[in-house]
C-alpha cells in the first residue's frame, strides 16, 4: 500500500496466488472476525469494536497440520448481502466474484457471534446460499458458556448442511478445526437445501426454528454492559466522563510521553556524539551526524508520545467506549448536518487522517462522506503533536493551572485540539449548507458489548504504528534531512561549508520571506514551513539542522534556540498555522484516491492553507 499511515500485511506473492486456495473470512461487525484472523495468520491488523473498522481487506497465509497452505482474506463486516456502504460492497463483490484483481474465494468461513445466534444465522444462511463451500464458526464460545448459554453444534451442522465449529478467537479454542477447514484439500458443497425466503421476518423465524432444534440456549444479557451504559450514557455523567476522558488522554500523552521522549533524546544525543567521535572530521561526518542522525533523530524522539496516544485510543476503541462516545456526539454532529457515524472517523483522525479518511467508507451517504473527508485533516493528528510539543515547551511555562494534573502546557495543547475541532465543525456547517447539502441521513449504529481490550491486540496495533512511524522517519523525514543538509552546505566557499546566510537554503528562505513576514516568521521558519509541506514534523528536523549549524546557536538546544528566533506572537501564529494547514502529502494522496478526483484535495488544500495563513496573520497582528 502506498499510504504511510496505514500498513497491511500486503499482497500475496504472485506464485502463491496462482496455486494456493483462498478462503474468505466474513461475518457481521463485532463478531471477533479480525481477532480470529490475527490468531490464524499472526499478521498485523487493526482490531476494533466499531461496526466497520476493517475498511481494507487484508490477506494472510496459514499452514495446516498437513503442511498445506491457504490464503485467508479478511473482509469488511457485513449485515446482509445488500451493501449499504462502500466497505460492505467490497465484501459482497469479493464473495460474488465481481471484484477486480481478486479471484473469487474457493471457500468461505462465516464468523458469527454465538451469543447472538438467531440474528447471525440469517446472515450465515444467505452466505451459504451463494454456493461456495462454507464453514460456520460460532465465535465467542467462552462468553456463551460463561453466561450460561449452550448449543448443539452437530444438530446445527445437520440442519445447515455445512460444517459448524464452536470456537473462541480470544482463547484459541476450536481454532485447529478452523485451520483444518482452511487447508483441506477438497470441500463438499452444502448438502442441504436451505429455504429461500422473501423477507427478513421469514428468515428470522427460520433462524429461531433452527436454533430451537439445535437446543440453543441463549445466554443471559451481559449485566456489565447495561450497568456501564447507565453511567456512560447518563444525562449528566455521560458528557462529563467523555470530557474527562479526552482531557486525560492529552494529559497522559503529554506527561508520560514527554518523560519517555526526553530519555530517548538523551540516548540519541549520546549515540550521535559517540558516532561522531569515531568518524574523521569533515564533510562525511557532518553529513552523517548533522544531516541524517540529528535530522531524523529530532523526529524519532516523539515516537513514545505518539504510541501512547494510539494506545489510549486503542483501549477506548477495543473496549467499546468509542461507540458510546459516538452516541453522545451525535446531537452535536446533527447540528452541523452530520451524524454520529462521521464522528467515528473524526475521532481516529486525532491519531492520523489517513486511516480516518479510509474509515469514512462506512458512511452510507456520499455527501456526508465527502464532508467528513474534507474536515478530517483539521483534527489534531499525531504528526502535529511533535510540533505542538516543541513550541509549547519552548514558549509556555510549566505552571500548574487546575491542580497538579492539568498545567498551562496541557491547557495550551488542549486549546489547539479544540481549535482544530471547532474549525472542522465550522467547515462542516458551511459545506453541509452549500455544496454538500443533502437530506438528513438516518443514524443507525450497533452498540458492541463492553469488552476488555486484550494486550496482544493492543500490542500488535502499537507495533504496527511504530513500523509506520519508522518508515516515515526513514523515508520522508530522511529525504528532507538529506536535501536540507545539501542545501545548507552548498554552494561551497573555498572548498568549505558556506556561512549559513550564503547557503542555498538561505536563498530559498529569503525568497519566501515577504510572504511569511506578516505572520512574524523569519527565513529560517520559512525553510521549516517549506520542508513541512511533505510532512508536518519535517519542520523540527529542519530547524534542528538550521540552528545546529548556526555557530552562535550550536550549543543551545532547539527549544532555547527557538526562543531566541521567534517572538511569542510569532510562536502563536506558527501554532495556528500548523493547526489549520494541510501539510501532509499522504493525506492529499488518500483524499485523491478516496474521492477519485483531484477536485476535492485541491479545494481542501487551498481552503486549509488560506484559513491557516489568515488566522496566523490575525494572531500575530493582535499579539505583537
Amino acid at each position: 500500500m502506498s499510504s504511510p499511515c496505514h500498513t497491511g500485511p500486503g499482497v500475496l506473492p504472485a506464485e502463491l496466488e496462482a496455486t494456493t486456495r483462498t478462503v474468505a473470512l466474513v461475518g457481521p461487525p463485532n463478531s471477533g472476525k479480525t481477532t480470529l484472523f490475527n490468531r490464524l495468520t499472526g499478521l498485523r491488523q487493526k482490531v476494533g469494536n466499531f461496526p466497520g473498522v476493517t475498511v481494507e481487506h487484508h490477506t494472510g497465509v496459514v499452514r495446516g497440520e498437513n503442511g498445506k497452505e491457504a490464503a485467508v482474506i479478511d473482509l469488511p463486516g457485513i449485515y446482509s448481502l445488500v451493501p449499504v456502504s462502500e466497505d460492505e460492497r467490497v465484501t459482497v463483490d469479493v464473495l460474488e466474484g465481481r471484484m477486480d484483481g481478486i479471484k473469487r474465494p474457493d471457500a468461505v468461513v462465516v464468523v458469527t457471534d454465538a451469543t447472538n445466534l438467531s440474528h447471525h444465522l440469517v446472515l450465515a444462511a444467505r452466505i451459504i446460499s451463494i454456493g461456495l463451500p462454507t464453514l460456520i464458526v460460532l465465535n465467542m464460545a467462552d462468553e456463551l458458556k460463561k453466561q450460561g448459554g449452550s448449543v448443539d453444534v452437530l444438530s446445527l451442522a445437520r440442519q445447515l448442511g455445512t460444517p459448524v465449529v464452536l470456537a473462541s478467537a480470544a482463547t484459541g479454542d476450536g481454532v485447529p478445526a478452523i485451520l483444518n477447514f482452511l487447508t483441506a484439500q477438497t470441500h463438499s458443497s452444502a448438502s442441504v437445501e436451505l429455504p429461500v425466503l422473501k423477507d427478513a421476518k421469514g428468515y428470522r423465524d427460520w433462524a429461531v426454528r433452527v436454533g430451537n432444534k439445535a437446543s440453543y440456549r441463549k445466554p443471559a444479557t451481559p449485566v456489565w454492559t447495561q450497568r456501564l451504559d447507565r453511567i456512560f450514557l447518563h444525562r449528566i455523567w455521560g458528557p462529563v466522563i467523555f470530557a474527562v476522558t479526552v482531557l486525560l488522554v492529552f494529559q497522559v500523552t503529554f506527561t508520560v510521553g514527554q518523560g519517555l521522549s526526553a530519555l530517548l533524546q538523551q540516548g540519541l544525543q549520546l549515540g550521535g556524539k559517540n558516532l561522531g567521535r569515531m568518524l574523521p572530521d569533515g564533510m562525511f561526518q557532518s553529513f552523517l551526524i548533522d544531516g541524517i542522525w540529528n535530522g531524523v533523530g529530532s523526529v524519532l524522539v516523539f515516537l513514545p508520545q505518539i504510541l501512547i496516544l494510539f494506545l489510549v485510543i486503542g483501549i477506548l476503541e477495543d473496549s467499546g467506549y468509542l461507540a458510546r462516545a459516538a452516541v453522545i456526539a451525535d446531537q452535536t454532529m446533527s447540528r452541523v448536518g452530520l451524524n454520529g457515524k462521521s464522528f467515528i472517523p473524526l475521532l481516529s483522525a486525532y491519531a492520523c487522517a489517513v486511516p480516518a479518511i479510509m474509515a469514512t467508507r462506512t458512511i452510507p451517504s456520499k455527501r456526508d462522506r465527502i464532508a467528513t473527508i474534507l474536515i478530517a485533516p483539521f483534527m489534531t493528528c499525531s504528526a502535529r503533536l511533535p510540533v505542538y510539543t516543541m513550541f509549547i515547551a519552548a514558549f509556555i511555562p510549566a505552571k500548574p493551572l487546575l491542580g497538579p494534573f492539568f498545567g498551562a502546557r496541557a491547557a495550551a495543547m488542549l486549546s489547539l485540539y479544540v481549535l482544530g475541532f471547532l474549525m472542522a465543525v465550522f467547515t462542516a456547517r458551511i459545506l453541509k449548507s452549500t455544496i454538500l447539502k443533502s437530506d438528513a441521513v438516518h443514524f443507525v449504529m450497533e452498540m458492541p458489548p463492553y469488552r476488555w481490550p486484550t494486550a496482544s491486540s493492543l500490542g500488535l496495533r502499537l507495533l504496527d504504528r511504530s513500523k509506520v512511524f519508522m518508515v516515515r522517519a526513514g523515508t520522508i523525514i530522511l529525504a528532507v534531512a538529506i536535501v536540507l543538509w545539501v542545501l545548507t552546505n552548498f554552494p561551497m566557499e573555498g572548498g568549505k561549508r558556506p556561512a549559513i546566510e550564503n547557503s542555498y537554503v538561505a536563498s530559498i528562505g529569503h525568497a519566501i520571506e515577504p510572504a511569511i513576514r506578516p505572520m512574524g516568521f523569519d527565513w529560517k521558519i520559512g525553510v521549516g514551513l517549506v520542508s513541512s509541506i511533505a510532512a508536518r514534523e519535517g519542520i523540527i528536523a529542519t530547524l534542528g539542522t538550521l540552528y545546529g549549524i548556526d555557530p552562535e546557536e550550536h550549543a543551545m538546544d532547539l527549544q532555547a534556540a527557538l526562543h531566541r528566533e521567534l517572538s511569542f506572537a510569532g510562536a502563536v501564529a506558527l501554532l495556528l498555522f500548523f493547526a489549520f494547514a494541510m501539510q501532509c502529502a499522504s493525506t492529499i494522496a488518500v483524499v485523491r484516491r478516496e474521492t477519485n478526483s483531484w477536485k476535492w484535495p485541491a479545494l481542501q488544500f487551498g481552503y486549509m492553507t488560506a484559513v491557516a495563513y489568515v488566522s496566523a496573520l490575525v494572531a500575530y497582528t493582535l499579539l505583537k
Binding site: Y79, S80, H119, K218, R235, H442, M445
Partner: protein, 93 residues
C-alpha cells in the same frame, strides 16, 4: 400542561418506538419508511413481531439505544418515530 395530558394518553398505547419510555418493552410493528432503509434496519435486527426494549437514552434524549434480542442499536428520534409498536401484552409468546 395540556401536553402532559397528551403524553399520558400516548403512554397507555404507544404508537411508535419514540413514544416508549426508557425501560419499556413492546413488540415491533411496521417500519414505515423507504424500503431500503427498512430492509437495512431489519438486517440489523429490527424485525416486525420481535420484542424491543428501550435500553438507554443518549444524554440529550436522542439518539436512544434499543435492544432487540441480543443486539443493541442506536437510533435517532426521526427514525424511531417511523416504527410502530404494539403493547407487549398483545404478543403473548
Amino acid at each position: 400542561m395540556i401536553f402532559n395530558f397528551i403524553k399520558r394518553i400516548h403512554r397507555k398505547s404507544p404508537a411508535t418506538l419514540a413514544d416508549l419510555q426508557v425501560g419499556e418493552r413492546a413488540v415491533l410493528g411496521e417500519l414505515e419508511m423507504e424500503p431500503a432503509t427498512a430492509e437495512h434496519l431489519m438486517n440489523l435486527g429490527l424485525i416486525p413481531g420481535v420484542e424491543v426494549m428501550v435500553a438507554h437514552s443518549g444524554p440529550g434524549g436522542d439518539p436512544r439505544i434499543y435492544r432487540v434480542e441480543g443486539t443493541e442499536l442506536a437510533l435517532r428520534g426521526e427514525l424511531s418515530r417511523c416504527i410502530t409498536v404494539e403493547p407487549q401484552s398483545a404478543a403473548a409468546d
